[in-house]
Structures are given as structure tokens and as C-alpha cells.
């Protein structure tokens, strides 16, 4: 009877991290993208005080702050889309599947190897943003951001949930795709629903209160669990090796 092995899980994560480090283009892309998303919010919070007669600065900081949620939505999709089809293209998938690794360990290891750097960079960028607000922004802006619990909850809680969604979709695409390029392009579509969600919140269709943030987080969690289960079903060894649905 097979049991989930944390040692095998860690082996996959370690190998993936080692592999990322050796590929400079991956590291550069990983670092540049989050900081690109930092520019807009930082600029926005400095522009707000200049607008005289602002009745409620909170309305002006919502969009730039939620904009930061695009980092965990977009960043992992490319890496996740590479997970299976990339291994298949370089011929490493079959030897890997001949080891005792289980489907669950494979999915968890590959997923975690994308989630860990994504979250490290996302929270890193959040930290820099909040530091910039605390140190440089006018007090009215600072209190508008730190005073809105819903925004901080949305940032902290929804980030891993959005990243997990992107990773699950990216991996599902990766299982089905026959080419890395196709997988990465299709994987990028995973970020559309989160972007729409952020837009809905930002434009005020739904007012971002603490309750809304929590409700969205719970819904996202349910969606993620469902998505991961679907991916797990797709991760059949035969499908991974042959690239087509198992047949009897």
C-alpha cells in the first residue's frame, strides 16, 4: 500500500528549485514580473494626496492595492504550464514515472515548487509596497490602506488561493498539451478569472469589505480544491506517458 512520502515530495521540490536556479531566464522573469506590478500601485499612492478635495482616499487606494493581486494570478501560470509537457519534451517524464513516486506526490511536488517562489516573491513585493506606504506616503493614504482590514485580508489570504488556481489550470493544460509553447499560452488564460474578479472589486461592482474578502476567499478555496482534484484525475501515468486519454 502506497503512502504519501514527504521525502519524495521534498525531492521533487529541491530538484525543481535547483533547476530554476540554473536557468537564468527563469530567475530574471520571476524577479522582474512582480516588480513591474509594484510600479503602478506605488505611483498611484503618491498621486492620491496631490488630488485636492479627495473626500475619501480609501476609494483611490483600492484599485492599486488590488492590482498587486495580479502577481500571484499571473506569475505561476507559465511555470505551471511547463511542469508536465516540459518534462515530456525533454524525455525526463518517463524515467521519473518509473520510480515509486505516486501521482499525488508528483502533483504536490510540482505544484509546491511553483507556489513557493510565487508566494515568496508576492509577499516580498507586498512587504516592499507596505513599507513604501508606511515610510513615504502621506498619513491620509497610509491610514486608508492600513485602516482597511478588507484590503490587507484580500492581499494576504487571496494571494495563495489565486496562485493555486493558476497553478492547477497551468498543470491541467500541461498534461494535455503536446508543446511547451502551446501550454504556456493556454496556461496564461488561467489568469483571466482572477483578473475579472479583481476588476469587479476595483470598480466597485462589489464593495470590498472584510466580509466580501472572506467570502471570496472561501469560494476560491472551494474552486481550488475542485481544480486540484480534477488535475489529480488527469495525472494518470498512461496519459502522462502517451499524451492521450487511457484506453482499454
Amino acid at each position: 500500500m502506497n503512502t504519501f512520502s514527504s521525502a519524495r515530495l521534498m525531492a521533487v521540490i529541491r530538484k525543481e528549485m535547483r533547476d530554476y536556479r540554473r536557468k537564468r531566464s527563469i530567475v530574471v522573469t520571476m524577479l522582474i514580473l512582480p516588480f513591474m506590478f509594484l510600479i503602478e500601485p506605488v505611483v498611484a499612492i503618491f498621486v492620491v494626496p496631490a488630488s485636492s478635495g479627495v473626500s475619501d482616499p480609501r476609494n483611490y487606494v483600492i484599485l492599486p492595492v488590488l492590482y498587486l493581486l495580479l502577481i500571484p494570478s499571473i506569475m505561476p501560470s507559465t511555470l505551471a504550464a511547463f511542469t508536465v509537457v516540459g518534462e515530456r519534451e525533454q524525455g525526463t517524464l518517463e524515467p521519473l514515472l518509473t520510480t515509486p513516486i505516486s501521482q499525488q506526490e508528483f502533483i504536490a511536488g510540482k505544484g509546491a515548487a511553483v507556489l513557493i517562489p510565487t508566494m515568496a516573491l508576492t509577499y516580498g513585493v507586498y512587504g516592499l509596497f507596505l513599507l513604501a506606504v508606511e515610510v513615504f506616503a502621506k498619513s491620509v493614504v497610509s491610514s486608508a490602506i492600513f485602516g482597511q482590514g478588507s484590503l490587507l485580508v484580500a492581499l494576504i489570504l487571496m494571494a495563495p488561493l489565486l496562485a493555486s488556481w493558476s497553478i492547477a489550470v497551468g498543470m491541467a493544460v500541461s498534461v494535455r498539451a503536446t508543446e511547451i509553447r502551446v501550454a504556456q499560452q493556454l496556461g496564461a488564460l488561467a489568469s483571466i478569472p482572477p483578473v475579472l474578479l479583481i476588476l469587479i472589486l476595483a470598480v466597485g461592482v462589489i464593495h470590498p469589505t472584510l466580509a466580501v474578502a472572506l467570502i471570496f476567499s472561501i469560494i476560491l478555496l472551494g474552486v481550488d480544491v475542485r481544480a486540484i482534484r480534477i488535475v489529480a484525475k488527469m495525472m494518470n501515468r498512461e496519459r502522462l506517458v502517451t499524451g492521450s486519454k487511457p484506453s482499454r
Binding site: N2, R14, R18, D19, K23, G91, P95, S102
Partner: protein, 362 residues
């Protein structure tokens, strides 16, 4: 370790009972050691009597309307080197993938390393076997050692470094251990793939074209390694297109062309298919060979592809040869040579595959 030696270190411990201390045997084979064909005293002989390492019964795999292989049945004894031959698309790799639990069969049963083949038993089977695909599949941005470390961790070896060093020594790669795999030649990559398979100390090794792309010296090293593994009781399932390799290494071969065409020892297959044949050469062609050979009762059939050379099918070579020589001399023919006609495994293979209308092997 002697420079240039091919060394195999085997812990002699299988499955989950692995020891951190290499307590088994140590075998060193010098580079260039001649590879001998399987002898009657090989472990295969002993193994045949025991429980087979691999039992395959009526195994079939279909992908939709396409049949990869159908109704395949055979057994492989412990310590046997079993050759699996067939043209491209015959179903060899799919069979290996099925027995390696990567693909589920459409019907039929198999017992691999003593465990019934099923999805539930997949992990346990994979712990007992090693598969080296034709493409060794290495992570190019990782070094040789890092590649092996990854797989050692997936197998959960506590003595990973001992195993890695031993496997690298076995394939003569210890001095390239820190090289990135992306910079290795095809032959060296193949050897890393072999080291990876050896590292898990499998009961059954599935080797898919292990010498593909290797130079003759490297191929000889692989042959030597296979023979040393056989001597230690490791069962080897060898898929190859090189019929000379199969003839040299394999105790038995199976020829697959979607359906299993035959299974047996190369010598037996030759005898079955080509019977006993004598080749006779005379200085000048016989005036009327048909009439002359008809007078000799020991000759069943004869044919001639070139003047003065005759292929004679006989019931028993030992008794027929003297009769034929006497008859030829009596007829006044100048006999240059009389010898047993040699048929290679390639002849067997081509005869069977040609019967299926597949043309030339690749």
C-alpha cells in the same frame, strides 16, 4: 579502483531490506574484456527451475482501434537475459511500459518480480524493477551526481551516496560526476541512464536499446555490464534492434510483431526454422546436381545460389556429411569444402518478419 576498469558493486539486498553498508559482492571487469555468449552453466539454467521473474499471459494493449500488441504470453526466468526483438511499431516499448506499470493492459495478466501487475501494485512493482528508456531522459541543467541524487531520493535510499558512487564506477563515469548532463555526449548520457537504473538495485532491469548511439568500445562495456549483472542473478529484459547483440547476450529471445511470433534460444530458433543444412563447394559445378542429390537418401532438399555451391538440407549432419563426400568423390567431383551452414539470428528474424509482410527490420 583501477583506471579504465568496469566495476559493479552489488549490495545483494533486495526490495525494502536495503542496508547502508555495501555488504554484497564486488566485481571488477577490465575494460575490453571479451563478452562470452550465454553458456549452459549460466544462471538462466538454474533460474528456469524456480519461480519465473516475469510471467506474461495473453497480454493485449489497444489504443482505441489500434492494437499495440495482442495476446502476448511468455515467461522470463530469474537471472535470464531475455531479448525482445521486433520491427519499429511492433509493440516492444509499449510492452515494456505495460510491464513497468506505466500503461495499463487492455486484457491479460502478468506477474512482475513476483507481484501481480495492477494499478494498486504499481509502486511496489516499480520499487523492484528498473527501466532505462531509449532516451535516458536526464535533466540537462543538473550535474550527473545531481541527477542521480534526485532519483535516489525518489527511491528513498538512505545510502544514496554509496549507491551513486557504485553506480558511477560501474559505468565508468566517476570522473564525470560533476559535469552538467547537458554537456555530455549521447554515449555518456546513455551511461548515466544505466547508472540511474543500476542504482536502485532492481530484480528486473528493462533496458530499451541500451547501446543505441554508443561507439563500439562503449557498447562492449554495456555488454560486459549486462553479462556481469546476469552472473549476479539480475533478470534483464533487453529490447534491441541489434540482432548481433541479442545473439551474443541473450539466453532466449522473443520476436514480436504485434503478436508474438516466437520465443526460444537463438540456436533452437535457427534449428527450428532452417533445419540442418550442409554447404558443399566443388571446384567445378556438378553436371546434373538434381539427379545426383536424388540418389543420396540423407538429403531432403537442396538448392544452389551460385555455381559450384550447394545448400543441402539433411536430417542429421553428422551422418549425412560422410555419405555426401563419398558420393561426390565417387562422382568425380573435386570437393573444396563441406561444412555446416550457419544461420544467424538475423536470418531467423528476417524470415519471421518477412512472413508478416513487414519487410526489413530497423
Amino acid at each position: 579502483m583501477v583506471h579504465g576498469a568496469l566495476q559493479l558493486v552489488h549490495t545483494g539486498i533486495k526490495g525494502s531490506e536495503r542496508s547502508t553498508a555495501p555488504g554484497g559482492f564486488l566485481l571488477t571487469i577490465e575494460r575490453g574484456t571479451a563478452v562470452h555468449p550465454p553458456s549452459a552453466s549460466s544462471t538462466f539454467e538454474a533460474g528456469v527451475k524456480g519461480e519465473p521473474a516475469l510471467v506474461v499471459r495473453h497480454l493485449t494493449k489497444r489504443f482505441g482501434d489500434r492494437t499495440a500488441y495482442a495476446d502476448v504470453s511468455f515467461e522470463v526466468a530469474h537471472g535470464e537475459v531475455f531479448g525482445f526483438l521486433g520491427p519499429n511499431g511492433a509493440g516492444k516499448t509499449t510492452t515494456v511500459r505495460t510491464l513497468g506499470t506505466l500503461i495499463a493492459p487492455s486484457s491479460g495478466t502478468a506477474i512482475v518480480a513476483g507481484i501481480p501487475l495492477s494499478v494498486e501494485n504499481g509502486v511496489e512493482i516499480r520499487q523492484r524493477i528498473g527501466i532505462m528508456p531509449e532516451n535516458p531522459g536526464l535533466y540537462d541543467r543538473l550535474s550527473v551526481t545531481e541527477n542521480l541524487e534526485y532519483f535516489a531520493a525518489l527511491y528513498g535510499f538512505r545510502d544514496a551516496h554509496v549507491r551513486i558512487n557504485d553506480a558511477l564506477d560501474a559505468v565508468n563515469l566517476a570522473d564525470r560526476a560533476q559535469d552538467l548532463c547537458g554537456g555530455l555526449s549521447k554515449g555518456l548520457r546513455q551511461r548515466v541512464g544505466l547508472a540511474r537504473t543500476l542504482m536502485s538495485d532492481p530484480q528486473i532491469m528493462f533496458l530499451d536499446e541500451p547501446t543505441s548511439g554508443l561507439d563500439p568500445v562503449a557498447a562492449l562495456e554495456v555488454h560486459t555490464l549486462i553479462n556481469s549483472l546476469r552472473a549476479k542473478g539480475v533478470t534483464i529484459f533487453l529490447t534491441t534492434h541489434r540482432l548481433d547483440e541479442a545473439e551474443k547476450l541473450c539466453d532466449r529471445v522473443a520476436i514480436l510483431n504485434t503478436k508474438l511470433r516466437t520465443v526460444g534460444r537463438p540456436a533452437d530458433l535457427r534449428a527450428q526454422l532452417f533445419h540442418n543444412t550442409l554447404r558443399v563447394r566443388t571446384r567445378t559445378p556438378l553436371a546434373n546436381p538434381g539427379a545426383f542429390f536424388a540418389t543420396l537418401a540423407s538429403i531432403n532438399e537442396w538448392h544452389s545460389n551460385e555455381p559450384g555451391t550447394y545448400e543441402l538440407e539433411v536430417a542429421d549432419v553428422q551422418s549425412a556429411a560422410p555419405d555426401i563426400v563419398r558420393g561426390l568423390v565417387g562422382e568425380g567431383a573435386d570437393v573444396i569444402s563441406v561444412g555446416e551452414s550457419a544461420h544467424s539470428l538475423e536470418d531467423v528474424y528476417l524470415a519471421l518478419i518477412d512472413d508478416d509482410g513487414n519487410g526489413t527490420a530497423s
